[in-house]
């Protein structure tokens, strides 16, 4: 069993009469992106401030690497501060310092690095964050998006082990929002830090998060992979899931597992639909791909695979594709929709998989070969969705080995 990097044990925090966190247990694991979501005022930012030590819990304990933060001695606390960094919602840039001075401040104050080393590291971060040319400007002289990038550069300039992001995309337009989320993901992947995000950007954050923790009325009502959210019946969680579904449908045409189950039951009850075909397409190396090229990209790839499938099956709205478990897509095709022969569909899909370039320009250095497997069966009248899935899994065959094209 994995040991959490940061662990909340029965943490309670009150402000006056209001209990913001009520005996909260929370685990954050090293090297992952964990996102805290919940309605406003549910204690998400308070959770981050408790971790960094800006406020203290009224009761309970917060552990970092298994050691209680409140019981750390001076040296341990100083090491903790060096290892954990914080990006404020408001950026909290020093308005009387230039962009360069802002980014360099943690190095000047918190490390023994010499000036040339500091200059080099700041220059590197400014290049990475596309901040060249703003060195001598003050925060008030640059745009909101740039200020976010400066705050992000300052948060990671010390190469921390853990970065806490307090609503990093609040107040940004959609383009800048995606750019900031992309920056967090790519930097997290490149530098391997543990990221803890507080965000209202549901469902966007689901695509970049390894784990989600949902705070509701002072309690953590869910923590786990975003895909598991769909399996829970809690009404608050379903609100998040449905908001996720809306965007997912819009982008990839993918539905939730719950929605797929409903369609499956409907088909089973209708004798005329028992000839409906169920396809399963899986990425057996899903976790390896995720490690190699990152969480966000593997999500985008799954979306692309679903799109290919739609195109090849020429099914229009007759097929419903859904994300069933994190590494597989299940597609249910209505026999009245004029879907092509299942074998022909799989052959066409295999051809497409082997010819498509899955890599974006920035991914080429991390290209990896991975296989796509697929199978199908008719839904019939006897097997449940889970049983049918197992049947198809046994019949699955390799559709193709896919990688980024060299020089493509």
């Amino acid at each position: 069993m994995r040991t959490p990097l940061i662990e909340f044990r029965k943490v309670t925090k009150r402000f006056g009469d209001k209990v913001v966190l009520d005996r909260v247990d929370l685990s954050i694991y090293a090297g992952e992106v964990t996102t805290l979501i919940g309605r406003s005022g549910e204690g998400k930012s308070v959770t981050l401030k408790l971790i960094i030590g800006l406020i203290r819990p009224d009761s309970g304990d917060i552990l970092y690497r298994g050691k209680s933060i409140s019981q750390m001695n001076r040296a341990e606390r100083e090491r903790f501060r060096r290892e954990v960094s914080f990006m404020f919602q408001s950026n909290a840039l020093f308005d009387s310092l230039t962009v360069r001075e802002n980014i360099a401040l943690p190095l000047h104050e918190g490390s023994k690095a010499k000036d040339p080393t500091i200059r080099e590291r700041v220059d590197h971060k400014m290049r990475v964050m596309d901040l060249e040319g703003t060195e001598d400007k003050y925060p008030s002289q640059i745009s909101g998006g740039m200020q976010k990038r400066v705050a992000l550069a300052r948060a990671i300039v010390t190469d921390p082990d853990t970065v806490l992001f307090d609503e990093p995309t609040t107040g940004l337009d959609p383009v800048r929002k995606n750019s900031v989320l992309g920056m967090i993901t790519s930097n997290q992947r490149d530098y391997g830090f543990t990221a803890v995000l507080v965000s209202h950007d549901v469902p966007d954050v689901f695509y970049i998060s390894n784990r989600i923790a949902v705070l509701e009325q002072g309690r953590v009502i869910f923590q786990g992979p975003p895909q598991d959210l769909e399996q829970r019946d809690h009404p608050v969680l379903q609100e998040y899931v449905s908001s996720q579904e809306i965007l997912r449908n819009e982008i990839y045409g993918l539905q939730s597992a719950k929605s797929l189950e409903r369609t499956f039951s409907k088909f089973r009850e209708d004798p005329e639909k028992r000839d409906a075909v169920m396809f399963v397409i899986s990425l057996p190396e899903y976790h390896i791909i995720k490690e190699e090229i990152g969480h966000l990209m593997v999500e985008i790839m799954l979306g692309s695979i679903a799109n290919i499938f739609y195109r090849v099956s020429q099914s229009g709205s007759a097929c419903k594709a859904a994300r069933y478990r994190e590494d597989r897509i299940v597609c249910l095709c209505d026999p009245d929709g004029g879907t092509r022969d299942p074998e022909e569909v799989l052959r066409g899909a295999a051809f497409e998989f082997n010819n498509i370039d899955f890599c974006s320009a920035g991914m080429r250095e991390r290209q990896t070969v991975f296989s796509v497997r697929g199978g199908w069966d008719r839904i019939g009248s006897e097997l449940s969705l889970g049983q049918l899935m197992q049947e198809i899994e046994q019949k699955e065959r390799l559709l193709g080995s896919v990688s980024c094209r060299s020089g493509g």
Binding site: E78, F88, S90, D95, L105, E109
Partner: protein
């Protein structure tokens, strides 16, 4: 004894209220003292903050020179004018030089210098730190592992210790010059008498006492102003920009009152 709604008597309520007020004041004073102590002790922590301290000396000291000069000049001039009028009633106009110099060196120099710096630099200190607090810049320092009191307050304490006595000396010198211009130039007192009376009445202990006072005022002003800004977020009834404006006002008012009270106490001790 009349019983109130909560079952207590009126005198009991009044004494409870007074007790709470006294306890609040003591707690606040204790907080201010501990705040100063943390700032003071942090001065000696390595690495020293030389550049930030020099910047503060420039801000508190160098940029106050003109203001102190103008105020000192006119204070000396008006003191000379008023002193001449009063002394003439006793036929003692000859001691004007000594009276002006003594008044400036022992009282007016340290007090007015401190009040002027409070108005110019103290209010700015309070506002700057207050704004840093409400925009989470102070919290940002903390999250970077930087002690905000060491970073923000310690250089200002050192700068005050260096600047207040120097500016007081400047105030005294220009004030005496102003008194001389009025006394000798306008009121036609003999220059030799003016200067000799100064030499006769002022002893070395007088500027030394003035130095002690200016030092104490410097520490008082910088502590009160930084404290008000640093804890702006804990103020009752004032958040954000309003909180900063209230903190700045409080910083100036408390500093001025503190200067006058401390002046009385120090004068009693040093006399």
């Amino acid at each position: 004894m009349p019983l109130l709604k909560n079952g207590t008597t009126l005198p009991a309520n009044v004494s409870a209220l007074l007790g709470r007020i006294v306890l609040d004041i003591l707690q606040e004073l204790g907080g201010v003292f501990l705040f100063f102590l943390r700032g003071f002790v942090s001065i000696f922590r390595y690495p020293f903050q030389t550049i930030r301290t020099v910047r503060q000396v420039f801000f508190i000291g160098a940029r106050s020179v003109f203001l102190i000069g103008i105020v000192g000049l006119f204070t000396g001039m008006v003191l000379s004018l008023q002193g001449y009028y009063s002394l003439a009633k006793f036929g003692s106009e000859g001691v004007l030089g000594g009276v002006v110099a003594l008044s400036l060196i022992r009282e007016l120099g340290p007090v007015l210098t401190a009040i002027m710096i409070t108005a110019r630099a103290g209010s700015a200190m309070s506002a700057e730190i207050g704004i840093m607090r409400i925009t989470e810049q102070v919290d940002a320092l903390f999250t970077m592992g930087v002690d905000p009191i060491r970073y923000l307050v310690s250089p200002r304490i050192v700068a005050a210790v260096l600047s207040f006595p120097l500016l007081t000396a400047l105030f005294d010198a220009i004030g005496i010059l102003g008194g001389y211009i009025t006394g000798v130039g306008l009121l036609k007192i003999n220059s030799g008498i003016f200067l000799s009376q100064m030499d006769y009445l002022v002893s070395l202990q007088d500027p030394v006492n003035g130095f002690y006072k200016s030092l104490a005022f410097g520490l008082l002003v910088v502590t009160i102003c930084c404290y008000q800004g640093f804890y702006v977020h804990t103020r009752h009834g004032g958040h954000g920009a309003k909180g900063v404006s209230l903190a700045t006002t409080s910083a100036v008012v408390y500093s001025c009152v503190g200067i006058l009270i401390a002046d009385y106490v120090l004068t009693s001790i040093l006399m």
